[in-house]
């Protein structure tokens, strides 16, 4: 006689209880080792000598300067990249012009390139050995090993972040709403702010949050162009390296805990925005390879 439980479903593949339990167990083990342990080790070391010591490490002038420099970099780079992302998405999704696909590939290049290569490349534009080096030196403009260089390198590595969120979404939304608005006499700006923006705000915010997270955490590219001058051109990630190599573990981990907290906040905001429909679900691995973008509309 069969047991008849309500809602009993036949197993799908991989639903055998032992297999299921084993697979979940293995996955949880690796997630614990790879993802949770690093967070735990940061907290553990940052507070290993107690809260007062942690507070003192954070309040140390060079650390405070590094925090300020990181915030300053984000305040400049993130808004500029946001404007760029919006402009690129508007041009690419609301208009037809030859070379759209090529432009998509160019916008995504920074994702594929090592931050070190990015940093080295910038050196050959604005550094003493670079294309504009002599001109800049004559004009006494210092870009490398100073704030402008850090901002430029950060903008390079995060250039695609906002555009990458907006383009698939705006492509999927089509042009009907904007066409209706302009046919009713709305100006381009008005159409953007009253029709387009309300429909993309969560995706835009999503891109901005991810962009900010990367700008504040960028290490490789900034490491090449900053010159690592303590208390002057050291961003927070670079300062962590410095403290770590000075064997100031508590200082390094205290500084790291700030960035780790930022990372966790970013994840929380990310999940919240994904609930609003923003984010990865509709995102292809590469924009230029996304067939819907290369379709020519009649």
């Amino acid at each position: 006689m069969a047991k008849h439980l309500s809602g009993r479903r036949p197993p799908r593949i991989g639903d055998a209880p032992n297999f299921r339990r084993a697979l979940i167990g293995i996955v949880l083990f690796f997630v614990a080792v790879v993802v949770i342990a690093p967070l735990a080790v940061i907290a553990s070391h940052a507070f290993s000598k107690g809260l007062p010591y942690f507070a003192a490490a954070i309040a140390e002038p060079d650390t405070r300067h590094a925090i300020m420099l990181t915030v300053m970099t984000a305040l400049i780079a993130v808004p500029i990249n946001t404007a760029f992302g919006i402009a690129a998405a508007w041009a690419i999704t609301k208009h037809d012009f030859p070379g759209r696909r090529l432009l998509l590939i160019v916008i995504e290049i920074p994702f594929s390139i090592s931050p070190i290569v990015a940093g080295v490349s910038y050196l050959f534009v604005y550094g003493l050995q670079g294309l504009f080096g002599p001109v800049l030196e004559a004009a006494e403009l210092k870009i490398m090993f100073a704030l402008p260089g850090i901002v430029l390198a950060s903008m390079f590595v995060t250039a695609p972040f906002v555009a990458r969120e907006l383009i698939p979404l705006m492509q999927a939304q089509g042009r009907d709403l904007e066409e209706a608005a302009t046919s009713l006499g709305a100006s381009g700006w008005r159409t953007f702010f009253t029709v387009t923006l309300p429909n993309i705000k969560w995706a835009l915010l999503y891109g901005v949050v991810l962009c900010n997270s990367r700008v504040m955490g960028e290490f490789g590219a900034v490491s090449v162009v900053s010159g690592n001058i303590r208390g002057q051109t050291n961003t927070l990630p670079l300062h962590i390296e410095l403290l770590y190599h000075d064997y100031d573990a508590v200082g390094a981990f205290a500084a790291a805990s700030i960035l780790a907290t930022l990372a966790v906040i970013t994840l929380v905001v990310k999940v919240a925005l994904e609930r609003q429909g923003a984010g990865r679900r509709s995102r292809p691995a590469s924009l230029a390879g996304n067939d819907s973008l290369s379709e020519v509309k009649p």
Partner: protein, 273 residues
């Protein structure tokens, strides 16, 4: 009938092109220019030097192992997140992105601390005779960590959208779990897996921050190519740095082309009804 054209093209395209030219294209051209100024013989001598070649071997072999790990683990993780319901699933789903959100330097010092001989994992492992920090194994772990989300995030949506009637059809035809997975599910996931793998591999080839802390950075043994480019720079050997960076640039473009090719293949069976 001519379709109505929306306003704002000159401004938005203007901004886009100027920004892309100055921020993205110009530096890469400068790099190529610098590398090209070396002349073929010098260029070849630098990029084929023993130390450079050793760094390619270290980088590529470690990236390969890290990517294979991420292929298997990423698929398992995506499967568990999509197909099973268990307490904590949503938290795990969110935590998968931690490697992208956590700055690489922070990841670097954390992993090094965990896997150093006196660390939480390094201690027990060294008791077993396995040394992680300052060995290629450490590089692999750092690479695997920083590129972990790629496979999960490319496979997950495909797995979610997988038509359940395909599996049901295979079941009515008498397929065992294993044969259905191997013959139906896996082939349908393959394009996404390959895309994830190529992204993961590309990221591992270029990773710097997370690796330099844990790698030990011994020339010929644990020195990755990105670090070599950086070291040449610190030695003020700019042409050498440019040459090595250009090799990485070429590798990145090859990976980009491979990714796009794989994604185009992914759409091969797509049917529009």
């Amino acid at each position: 009938m001519k379709r109505r054209v929306l306003p704002g093209l000159p401004l938005s395209l203007g901004i886009t092109l100027v920004y892309a030219a100055i921020i993205i294209v110009l530096p890469l051209i400068a790099l190529v220019f610098k590398a090209a100024s070396l002349g073929p013989a010098d260029y070849w001598r630098i990029i084929s030097s023993d130390r450079a070649v050793a760094s390619y071997v270290v980088t590529i072999s470690c990236a390969f192992v890290a990517t294979v790990f991420n292929l298997v683990f990423g698929l398992a993780l995506a499967w568990v997140l999509v197909r099973y319901r268990f307490p904590g699933r949503r938290i795990i789903d969110a935590l998968v992105d931690l490697p992208f959100a956590l700055p690489t330097a922070v990841a670097g010092i954390s992993l090094t601390t965990l896997f150093a001989v006196n660390g939480w994992f390094g201690g027990p492992l060294s008791a077993l005779g396995i040394k992680v920090a300052y060995t290629p194994l450490g590089i692999m772990i750092a690479m695997a960590f920083t590129s972990l989300p790629f496979v999960v995030r490319t496979v997950q949506p495909v797995l979610e959208e997988l038509d359940p009637t395909l599996e049901e059809a295979a079941q009515t035809l008498g397929g065992s779990d294993l044969s259905i997975f191997a013959r139906v599910v896996l082939p349908l996931l393959t394009p996404a897996l390959l895309a994830g793998v190529s992204l993961s591999f590309a990221r591992s080839l270029g990773e710097f921050g997370a690796i330099i802390f844990i790698a030990g950075n011994q020339p010929f043994e644990t020195e990755i190519t990105a670090l070599l480019a950086f070291i040449r720079l610190e030695e003020y050997d700019y042409p050498a740095s440019a040459a090595i960076a250009s090799v990485m640039l070429i590798a990145a473009f090859v990976m980009l082309a491979v990714t796009n090719l794989l994604q185009a293949r992914a759409l091969r069976y797509t049917v529009r009804n």
